[in-house]
Structure formats: C-alpha cells, structure tokens
C-alpha cells in the first residue's frame, strides 16, 4: 500500500498521507473554510474528535460528514464550503 493517496477537493487533485484523517488532509491541502454556518461564516475543525460538528464536508456526495472522523481513501471526492 502506498504511503500517499490522491483525493479530490473541490475538483482539485491533492496528494495526502494515506493514513491521514480527512480533516488533517484538508488542512494540509490549505482548506480553511470546511463549511459555512447558517449565516455564511466560514467554519473549520475545532474539537477534532467528532463532537463539535464544525468540520462537516460533503464526501462522495454525502453531505454533513465529519472530516475529523474519516480517514482519506484513494479517489475520495470532497466538497467543502457547503
């Protein structure tokens, strides 16, 4: 198994460590606004352990997935800012 996998973040191909959590991978890829609050404010991971729900992104078409609880997988399609 390769140490690096390629995922797609808002259509952009990004190479990230194979064992990374999706939250860490997105931060490493330079994403800061994981999602938008109901008033449009940018949000990003806070607790990193599934409690705060601030890091939700859309993964392979499924909305509101907590990035901190997901491990990256080859070809994963991620959309942020929703």
């Amino acid at each position: 198994m390769s140490d690096v996998v390629e995922i797609h973040v808002n259509g952009r191909a990004v190479r990230v460590p194979a064992s990374a959590s999706l939250a860490a991978a997105l931060l490493a890829a330079g994403e800061s606004a994981f999602r938008r609050s109901v008033t449009g404010a940018p949000r990003a991971p806070l607790c990193g352990m599934g409690i705060c729900y601030e890091c939700r992104v859309t993964v392979n078409g499924v909305a509101h997935v907590r990035a901190c609880l997901e491990t990256v997988a080859p070809g994963m399609d991620v959309v942020t800012g929703g």
Binding site: V38, V62, A63, H64, G82
Partner: protein, 378 residues
C-alpha cells in the same frame, strides 16, 4: 402624565401567535392593549407549530377561516421581516394510489369552487417538482397560494407591530385568574375594560368550561440539505389523522425551511401535559417520513421537540364573547392550525369587539356553541 395608571381597554392573556395577532388588531382599532404572558413571546404552542399557512377543507367552516387567513397572510407577506422566514412554497397534498388521486380530484373541485387556486399533478409532474419523493406516487394537489413561515419569529413581529401601535407587553407575568373586568397577576387584580383569553391549551385554566384539551405533537428538524424538499408536502391521510380524536396517530408532513433544513411532522397524542419524547411515536412518525421521502433515512436530525395543540371537540377554534362572564372574550382552541388562523381570528375578534362587520360569518366559531351543545346533550 397623571400618577394614576389608566387601565387598559383590553388585556390579552397569552403572547402566542394568536394573542400577538389579537393585540395588533385591537391596538390598530384604537384600543389601549396590555399583553401578558407567563413566559415570553411565542414560546408555547407557537414554538412547536410547523408554521404552515394552509387552506384546509375538513369542514366548510374550517375552509372559510383558513382561506380568509391565508389571504390575510399573503397581504401581509411583503412587510414581513426576514426573521419570519416567509416562504411562498405552496402545499402538495400527495396521493399514494388511484383511490387517493380521486380524492385529490374532489379536493381540487372543492378548492376551485371556493375561489382557491389549485392544480392536479400526475405522478410524473409530482416527481419532477419533488424528486426526493418515492416513486411511483399517483399524483398530488398543488395549492400554490399556501406558504410556510417561522412561527416564533412571526409572533415576535406581530407583537412588535402591536407595540408600535401602542400596545404594552409584559412577559413573565402569569395570569392566575380572569375576573369580570380584571385579571389577577401575583395576587393583584389589574383592571381591564375587556379580557381576551388567548392562552391556547391553557385557556380552560382561566376560563373554566372551555372544552380545550392539549393534543401533543412531535417535531424533528434535520441538518441543512438545500433542495431536498421544495414544497410543504402532506399526505392526503393527514386530514384524517387531524380529524379523528384517536389516542395516537401520525401522518407525513414535511416542510422546507429557508436554511435548507427539513422540518418533519406530524404526530398526535392525547396524553395530558407530558412533554417527554415518546420514542415509539417519534419512530413511527420518522418511518412515515422515510416511507414517502427515502433520502431522509440518511439525513441527520439535529433536534426533536414536542408541543401541545389546543384541541376542541369540533375541530374549530373558539373566537368571540364568553357570555358566562361579562367582558371576557376568547381566542383559543386552534388545534394544529393556529399559525394559519391567527390572522383571521384576530381580525374577526376585533370586528366583533369594535362592532365592525366581519368579512366571514363568525357564528361557527362562537365559543358559546360548546355550552349549548353540552346542554343539548346534557
């Protein structure tokens, strides 16, 4: 200013959406109005209402009041602030099979004959306008003039407008009793020209004899899934669930909210004032929702809560004078339609109080009907 406070012309008991609407109409009619509520604005049944502004045809009288009220809401809509979240999304009454589609056609005739626009959709047209509904369904009745809003926001707005017209609101003021020409708050009698009992399901505690019982309901709201639900959607069987005073029933009813959230109802139980979530009923309600809209199975519900509809035996609200006590008027008992019918109720009540001619016949809603019925049967 004199040192002696002038008693208000009218004390409105209850700052739910019905009390707020009554306060606005009475203040605009020139009365000095005081609104009292044990809690805050719109914190009781109003906060557990879905917020549908819907024309319903369970009876001619219900149709008349809901159609009149929806008309008043649509007149008001341009002036509603964003906090009211008014959304003219229309209602879809969905038919699961051919027999229900026949009922949809009869409903269509009833609405159009009474001047309310409606359109019959076949299964394909329904699927096109609500792709997340399960297929195949037989069709639906689209009532484009219906809308939804956020009830606590609307109650706050109506009460703020009442206060701009001169009304005074005192929250945290529990009314212990209503007497002729006064209300009792904290052991003190506050004089009032008239008293309007708009205390919803609690109205009988202040006006004994009002036949209103709390009818519990559950609501669930999802996270934001913009576009998943585009209209208020109700199964045709909803009317039956609402009409029959069975111990327990659920019906499919979902609404889009401005945030992209989906509000899911509805359940009905007669269990007194127990606010606890009933997992069995909630489970059946959510199963019903998933049955009609399968994508909801994967949606996260972020909050579940309950509330109490003020239910009357004949499913019509009580609007008018309570002749058992001088100077007492009633605007209560709106069951699950109080958000819709608040405006019609308030206009009707103010018409009766000020001697104006009401736009619709107030007789079917006269509170005294319940006493004459009881005496007839007694």
């Amino acid at each position: 200013m004199s040192g002696v406070a002038v008693p208000p012309d009218a004390v409105v008991v209850g700052a739910g959406i019905v009390g707020a609407a009554c306060a606005l109409e009475l203040a605009r009619a020139g009365l000095r109005v005081l609104v009292l509520d044990a809690g805050d604005v719109g914190g009781g049944t109003t906060a557990a209402g879905m917020g549908h502004l819907v024309v319903m045809d369970d009876s001619e009288e219900q149709f008349a009041l809901t159609a009149y009220s929806v008309r008043l809401w649509r007149e008001l809509a341009p002036s509603l602030p964003p906090e009211c979240e008014f959304d003219p999304c229309g209602t879809l009454w969905i038919a699961a099979d051919a027999a229900q589609l026949e009922a949809v056609r009869r409903k269509h005739e009833a609405y159009t004959a009474r001047g309310v626009a409606a359109e019959v959709l076949d299964g394909a047209a329904l699927a096109a306008c609500e792709p997340a509904l399960r297929a195949p369904l037989a069709g639906a009745l689209l009532v484009p003039g219906d809308a939804v809003l956020y009830p606590p926001g609307a109650a706050r707005h109506l009460l703020a407008e009442a206060c701009r017209a001169g009304a005074v609101f005192r929250g945290g003021s529990r009314v212990d009793a209503i007497r002729p020409g006064a209300v009792v708050v904290g052991g003190r009698a506050l004089p009032a020209g008239i008293v309007v009992n708009a205390a919803g399901a609690a109205a009988p505690e202040l006006t004994p004899g009002l036949p209103i019982v709390p009818r519990k309901g559950h609501l669930a709201i999802t996270d934001r899934y913009p576009g998943l639900c585009r209209h208020q959607i109700v199964e045709l069987g909803y009317l039956q669930s609402a009409h029959e005073m069975t111990a327990e029933s659920v019906a499919f009813n979902v609404q889009p909210r401005r945030t992209g959230q989906v509000l899911i109802g509805s359940s009905r139980e007669l269990v007194g004032w127990d606010p606890a979530t009933n997992r069995a009923v909630l489970g059946r309600m959510l199963e019903r929702a998933v049955h009609f809209m399968p994508a909801l199975a994967a949606a996260s519900v972020i909050r579940v809560w309950t509330g109490f509809r003020p239910a009357t035996p004949d499913k019509l609200p009580l609007i008018g004078p309570w002749e058992e006590m001088e100077g007492v008027w009633v605007a209560a008992g709106h069951e699950g339609l109080g958000i819709t019918t608040s405006l019609g109720t308030a206009r009707l009540l103010a018409d009766l109080i000020t001697g104006r001619t009401p736009a619709i016949d107030p007789a079917p809603y006269a509170p005294m009907r319940v006493l004459s019925a009881a005496r007839r049967h007694g």
